[in-house]
């Protein structure tokens, strides 16, 4: 049953299995295990980014396509939902309709990009996607009457997903089950289903062809596979998944703006998460997203503690001062790429760690 759910894709490493189980349990019981709004916020971001990073891995890791337009698709899902809720009111129907519109637009745009651009060399495709993503960001910024411009959109979500809604009168295991917790479980559930779907895709005959295309597209053609068709299909699937992650983000934040969805900074973060976790391994997306977001969220606090602990030592408190957290985050990633060139999952599967 479990292997069927995982589409036969075993973690293939005891350490990786344990890590994945810890993450699954941690996320499944996050509201109970880590009370407070910051941990719940972090757990929800991890769920959303697992889908976003895994969908990018389908493209870069499994098909060998480098695209910089992934945040654009992420943004389309988020903006679609945001517009649905802004224009249609705080109902599930409005959110669903907006989400559907955003996801459909992402699919159509991905299809157009794929059909028109995937025949060119990889570097040119990357440049085309970069140009399209930049143009889209400018467009969103300029269509302020619709998108809120640089300020973005604030909107209401269905009451059942807000803290004001109480599911039970009494706390369950010490936790009051309000709309925020329900909203978290909606995100967790959808993210889990989307991740398992991606796992199914990469382990299907279709996924096998994608890997062959990545390995050598000429050989794949010589066997009888139309490479452009497969690359385009992968681009569309990846865009749809990214847009769905955007839908989840829009529901969780109750705000959608360029900084939270379309920025190049998020694109670089996604790329780092894929590389750290291990390209071409769906489980790498899980580890990459967890490590990156935990580091982003808690490194500053940890460094504050380290600064206090080393107060008496010369020079050291300055080095570990919280405002230097970005420097140490960079060092951490350089070291992880140096020691895990095939990503954490690649290294664990090779039995070297």
């Amino acid at each position: 049953m479990l292997m069927k759910l995982l589409s036969g894709d075993r973690p293939a490493s005891p350490v990786l299995t344990v890590l994945l189980l810890v993450i699954l349990i941690g996320l499944a019981f996050a509201p109970f295990l880590f009370p407070g709004s910051k941990p719940l916020e972090t757990a929800a971001r991890i769920c959303i980014f697992i889908v976003l990073v895994a969908s990018y891995d389908l493209l870069i890791g499994y098909t060998g396509i480098v695209s910089f337009a992934h945040t654009m698709f992420f943004g389309l899902g988020a903006y679609g939902t945001a517009l649905g809720l802004s224009l249609g009111g705080a109902s599930f129907a409005a959110a669903g309709l907006g989400a559907l519109g955003g996801v459909a637009l992402a699919a159509v745009l991905a299809l157009a990009i794929g059909l028109f651009s995937l025949r060119v060399k990889a570097i040119f495709f990357a440049m085309v996607t970069l140009a399209i993503a930049s143009a889209f960001a400018v467009l969103v910024s300029q269509l302020s009457f619709l998108t809120g411009g640089e300020d973005g959109l604030n909107y209401k979500i269905p009451r059942e997903l807000t803290p004001a809604f109480k599911l039970f009168a009494e706390p369950v295991l010490g936790l009051r089950i309000d709309g925020k917790v329900l909203s978290y479980y909606l995100i967790f559930g959808v993210a889990l289903v989307l991740f398992l779907t991606l796992l199914r895709i990469v382990n299907s005959p279709f996924g096998r062809v994608l890997k062959a295309v990545r390995d050598n597209s000429f050989r794949a053609e010589a066997i009888g596979y139309k490479v452009v068709r497969y690359r385009t299909a992968a681009t569309v699937l990846s865009a749809v998944m990214a847009a769905m992650a955007g839908v989840l983000l829009a529901l969780w934040l109750r705000y959608t703006g360029p900084a939270t969805t379309l920025s190049m900074e998020i694109m670089v973060d996604i790329l780092l998460m894929v590389v750290i976790g291990g390209m071409g391994t769906m489980y790498g997306a899980v580890l990459g997203a967890v490590i990156f977001i935990l580091a982003q969220t808690y490194l500053q606090s940890l460094m504050g503690l380290a600064e206090q602990a080393t107060a008496g030592i010369p020079l050291l408190p300055d080095l570990v001062a919280p405002d230097r957290w970005l420097l140490w985050l960079g060092v951490l990633f350089v070291l992880s790429v140096y020691f895990f060139p095939t990503g954490i999952v690649g290294r664990l599967r090779a039995g070297k760690a």
Binding site: F218, R219, A222
Partner: protein
């Protein structure tokens, strides 16, 4: 006389500024093994790649089973029933042996009986079924490349120098396998530098030089005529054995 399976009629191929095939006309009859011989750079590999559509013929016509395939794209040519085993083996090194084989079965799941036959021809395919193809030895990679081409019945298999760089024992195994394959209905167009092997398998032969076919006929005639061998290839079968 039966209709030939494959004909090339005055085929020209340019690769960048280079005019490689300069009017190749070639006939491959149904069944058996046709061998394409010639020195390095004569245009043998380009001929196979042009048949597969990997290089586009700039002039001339390629007909397969009576159908003009000159302008078809490579996947359509492959699905028409032509398998290609390139010189550099053409396997997917990041994938397992099993995945390589499953990819080659383009019409559906692998037929168990056919797989068993292929694995009997090439035992390493069975032994290393779940291993990464990149970890196989050169000979095993070549066996995988040929196995992939025959995992489904094909009308024509183009094989480019299957024994190049292989140990003598592997060459013997490969020759035996190709001989068994010859017994099936599959037609083989074989490019081979090893004349001893080529002559032991071939029914018909064409010799290329400077992008043209300079001789075509029965293999038996070429094998029997040392003078012709000397003239066409600068060596004789006796000297090569």
């Amino acid at each position: 006389m039966a209709e030939p399976l494959l004909t090339l009629d005055g085929v020209h191929t340019h690769i960048g500024p280079y005019h490689i095939l300069q009017g190749v006309s070639l006939t491959v009859p149904q069944g058996g093994v046709s061998v394409l011989l010639g020195r390095n750079g004569a245009g043998k590999t380009t001929t196979l790649r042009t048949i597969m559509g990997l290089w586009r013929a700039s002039r001339g016509e390629v007909r397969f089973d009576g159908r003009d395939i000159t302008q078809l794209d490579t996947p359509s040519i492959a699905r028409a029933g032509i398998a290609y085993v390139p010189e550099n083996m053409g396997i997917f090194t990041d994938l397992t042996v099993a995945e390589n084989m499953m990819l080659a079965a383009t019409s559906g799941p692998i037929d168990a009986k056919r797989l068993s036959w292929v694995q009997d021809l090439f035992p390493p395919i069975r032994n290393f079924w779940n291993s990464s193809a990149g970890t196989l030895s050169g000979g095993q990679k070549q066996m995988l490349a040929v196995s992939r081409a025959i995992i489904e019945p094909r009308r024509l298999i183009l094989i480019d120098e299957p024994t190049k760089g292989l140990a003598p024992a592997i060459i013997v195994a490969m020759t035996d396998a190709l001989r068994q394959l010859k017994e099936t209905e599959t037609t083989i167009l074989l490019v081979e530098q090893n004349f001893a092997m080529a002559s032991s398998l071939g029914d018909t032969v064409a010799v290329m030089d400077d992008g043209r076919i300079v001789h075509a006929g029965d293999m038996a005639t070429l094998v029997a005529d040392a003078g012709l061998q000397e003239r066409l290839m600068g060596l004789s079968l006796e000297a090569h054995q």
